[in-house]
C-alpha cells in the first residue's frame, strides 16, 4: 500500500473513533505502561530497544507497520512473548491493552496517526518533527487541548539529557555572556538511504528522499537543534533564509542533500546557522553556542565550555593561579560541562514520559514546543525550496 492511499483511508474512518473516556489514563495498577509501537523503522526499533531497558516501567505489547519485513524485524525484540502485530495503526489503537503509543512513522503521517491515537485515548510519544506543516501543528495543538488527560510528548530527545539542561541553565545564568551566534551542523558522507529489497518499496523505505512524505534534512536532523534554541532561549526565529540543492547525490531524490538555513531571532539579537550535507563527514554533529564570555561546544552526549581568552586575561590581575587540579579532556583547554558522557537522550526522554504519565504534567518537549519547532521547520523548508525569505506570523505564537 502506498502511504498516501493509506492516509486517505485513515481519514475516512477517523470520525468513528471519537470515543471519549473520562476515567482514563491513570497509571495501571502494577505501574507498567503498555506500549504500542506505530512505525517499526530504524527509529521505532531504536525506541523499542530503549523501552526494553525499563521492564518495570514499560512493556511493548503491540507493533504496527505497513511493511511486513519491518514487523518481522521488530518481532525479534520480543524475548518470550509475541507482540500483537498490525499493518493498520487503527487496529492497533482499538487494542484496549495499549496505554500509550510511540509514533515513529514518516513525517507526513505524524498528524493523522497522532489524531487517531488521541481520539483512541492513548498517551502519545510522538516522534519529531511533530507535524509535516504549520496547519497540522496548529490543528493538533487544538485537539490536544481537548484531551487534557493524555500526555503528549514530542521526540526531541536530545534535550532531555542532563547535558542539555545544564547548557540551558548556563545560558540563563549568563555564563556565556551575550550570545550572538549559534552554529549547528549534522553532516555525513553518505547518501542517507536505506537498503531496498524490492524496487517497488523505494518510496516507502526511502521516504526521506521525497517531499511528499518528508521535510528532508531540516526536519529529520536540524529540527533537534532548532528546537533546542527555541527552548533554551524561550524564543522563535522571525526570519527564515535558506539555500540548498541536490548537489551530491543526483539519484532521483527530491529533498535536498545539501542545505544551509539561517534564522534570525531579533528579540535575542541572535543568528542561528543550521547546515547539513551528505557530502562531508568531518564535522558530523556540531553544535556551538557563542557568547561574549565563552563558547559551548556540544556533541549529543558531551559538551565543553571554552571561556573567551581575552576575558581570562582581564580577570588576570594575577599572572598565575594555584588551585585544585582542573581536569581538562580537550587539548584546546576547555572545561567539560559534565564530568562523564551522558546516556542517549531517548533514555532520559522515556523515563520522563513515564513520570509525566504518572503526574499528568506537561512534558518538557510538549505540544507547544513541538508545534513551535514544526512551524520553524516548515517555514525553513519554504525558504529553502521556494527560494524566498519567510517571516514568522503572529498566528503561529503558541504558548502553554
Amino acid at each position: 500500500m502506498i502511504r498516501r492511499t493509506f492516509l486517505k483511508n485513515s481519514g475516512l474512518v477517523a470520525g468513528g473513533l471519537l470515543l471519549s473516556n473520562g476515567q482514563l489514563l491513570a497509571k495501571p495498577a502494577n505501574g507498567i505502561i503498555k506500549i504500542g509501537i506505530i512505525g517499526c523503522g530504524d527509529r521505532g526499533k531504536g525506541i523499542m530497544r530503549v523501552i526494553d531497558q525499563f521492564p518495570d516501567k514499560f512493556k511493548t505489547v503491540a507493533i504496527c507497520d505497513v511493511l511486513d519485513m519491518r514487523l518481522k524485524e521488530a518481532q525479534k525484540f520480543a524475548k518470550q512473548t509475541v507482540y500483537k502485530q498490525y499493518t493498520n495503526h487503527k487496529q492497533l489503537l482499538e487494542n484496549k491493552d495499549v496505554d500509550a503509543v510511540v509514533i515513529a512513522v514518516p513525517l507526513n503521517m505524524h498528524y493523522p496517526v497522532a489524531v487517531d491515537s488521541l481520539k483512541a485515548n492513548k498517551h502519545l510519544y510522538l516522534e519529531k518533527t511533530m507535524t509535516y506543516n504549520v496547519r497540522q501543528a496548529l490543528d493538533l495543538l487544538k485537539l490536544v487541548k481537548n484531551h487534557p488527560k493524555q500526555v503528549v510528548q514530542v521526540g526531541h530527545q536530545y534535550r532531555y539529557s542532563p547535558l542539555y539542561y545544564k547548557v540551558k541553565e548556563m545560558i540563563e545564568k549568563g555564563y556565556l555572556g551575550q550570545i550572538s551566534q549559534v552554529d549547528c551542523r549534522w553532516d555525513r558522507n553518505a547518501n542517507w538511504r536505506r537498503p531496498v529489497p524490492d524496487p517497488s518499496l523505494e518510496r516507502q523505505i526511502n521516504w526521506r528522499m521525497y517531499k511528499e512524505y518528508s521535510g528532508g534534512l531540516v526536519a529529520e536532523l536540524l529540527s533537534h537543534q532548532i528546537d533546542f534554541i527555541n527552548w533554551a532561549f524561550d524564543t522563535h526565529p522571525s526570519e527564515f533564509m535558506a539555500t540548498g540543492g541536490i548537489d551530491v547525490f543526483k539519484d532521483g531524490r527530491e529533498t535536498f542533500d545539501n542545505v544551509q538555513v539561517t534564522l534570525r531571532y531579533p528579540e535575542k539579537n541572535l543568528i542561528g546557522n543550521f547546515g547539513a550535507t551528505c557530502g562531508n563527514s568531518r564535522d558530523g554533529y556540531l553544535f556551538k553556542i557563542k557568547g561574549t564570555k565563552g563558547t559551548v561546544s556540544l556533541l549529543t552526549d558531551q559538551g565543553m565550555f571554552y571561556p573567551e581568552q581575552s576575558l581570562l586575561k582581564e580577570k588576570g590581575v594575577v599572572d598565575g593561579v594555584t588551585g585544585a587540579t582542573r581536569i581538562t579532556w580537550a587539548k584546546e583547554g576547555g572545561t567539560p560541562i559534565l564530568p562523564e558522557p551522558t546516556r542517549d537522550g531517548t533514555w532520559y526522554a522515556l523515563n520522563d514520559f513515564y513520570d509525566k504519565i504518572g503526574t499528568g504534567e506537561l512534558p518538557d518537549s510538549n505540544i507547544y514546543t513541538g508545534a513551535k519547532t514544526a512551524i520553524c521547520v516548515h517555514l525553513a523548508n519554504q525558504a529553502l525550496y521556494n527560494n524566498e525569505i519567510v517571516h514568522w506570523k503572529d498566528e503561529y505564537n503558541v504558548k502553554a
Partner: protein, 329 residues
Amino acid sequence: MLFVAGLCFGFTYKPALNEFEIHGYAQGTTYNIIYYAADTRVNKYQTDSLLEELDKSVSLYQPASLINKFNASPKGVYIDTLLKALVSKALEINKQTNGMVDVTVKPLVDAWGFGSVKNTVKPNSTVISKIKKSVGMSNLKLVGNYLSKKRPEVQIDLNGIAQGYSADLLAQLLERKGIYNYMIEIGGELRIKGSKPNGNLFKIGIESINVNDFEPQPMRKIVSLKQGALTTSGTYRKHVKANGKEISHLINPKTGYPVSNEMISVTVCASDAITADGFDNGFMLMGLTQTLKYLKDRTDIGAYIIYKRSNGSIADTTTKGFNILTITE
C-alpha cells in the same frame, strides 16, 4: 647615526626583555609558561617533548608507560631516571609524613572510583581490608635502577607529585637556556623565579573555593614569591558520588577510607614543586591541627590552609614558613 651612537655611549648594553608565552596540554590538564628573555630561548615543541617524555614514564593513562609496566608486573621492573627521581622523592616524603603520603595507595583510589580505573560502586570493608594488604611503602624496594614489589597486586600512582615534578623539569629546561625570569603553571601547580621587566614580582592567585568553572570567581588570596614553588590540593573540585553520597578524592592509606576532615584546601610553598606537591595531599590527610604542628617551626616549607570551622563557617590560616617565603598583597 652618529647622534644615536652618541646617546648609547656610556651605557652598558642590556637587551630589552620580551615576554614569551607557551600554552599547552599535558597530563590531562593545561600548562602555561610565561618567561622574559631577549629572544625565544624555549619553544612549545621543546616543552611538549619534555612533558611527553615524562608521560611515557609516569602516566597511568598511557597503556605502555613504564609505571603501567611496573603496576602490571609480578615482581618489578628496571626504571628510568625520571621514574627513579619520583619514587625516591615519594619514599622520602612518606618517611617525613609518617606514612600519610603513600604512592602505593593506587588500588584504594581505584576502588573508590577516583583513579584511572572507574568504579561507581562503593567498596565494602572486606574489599578494603583485602586491598590494604598491598598498600604501604614497605611493599616497594628501590635498589639501583630496579624497583621491586613484594606482591604482584602492589601498584603505584605518582599523580600526586608528577605535576610538581614536571614544573621542576620545565624550570630546569628554562634555566639551562639562560632564562631566569619565569612562571610555570601546570594543572594549578606553579614554579616561579625572578620578576617582570618592570621589577614587579609575579602575582599568584589562590583560587576561590566556590568553584564554578563556567564563571571564574575572584581570587581568595594573592601572593608573590621571588623563587620557589606553590602547589594546591583541595577537595572542592574533584568529588565523585558513590551510593548517592559525595566523597572526597583523598584516601587515607592507613585506614583505606576517604578522608573527611575540616580541610578544604592547602596551598604549599617550597623551594621546588615536587616537594610542595608531595606534601600538599599529605597535609589534607593530616588535618588542621597536625599540619599546623608539623609546620610550626619550618621555614623551608609553608602552607596556606582553608578549612571549615565546626560551626560551618570558612576560615583560613598561614604557617610561619608561608609568611616568610611569600609576600601577601
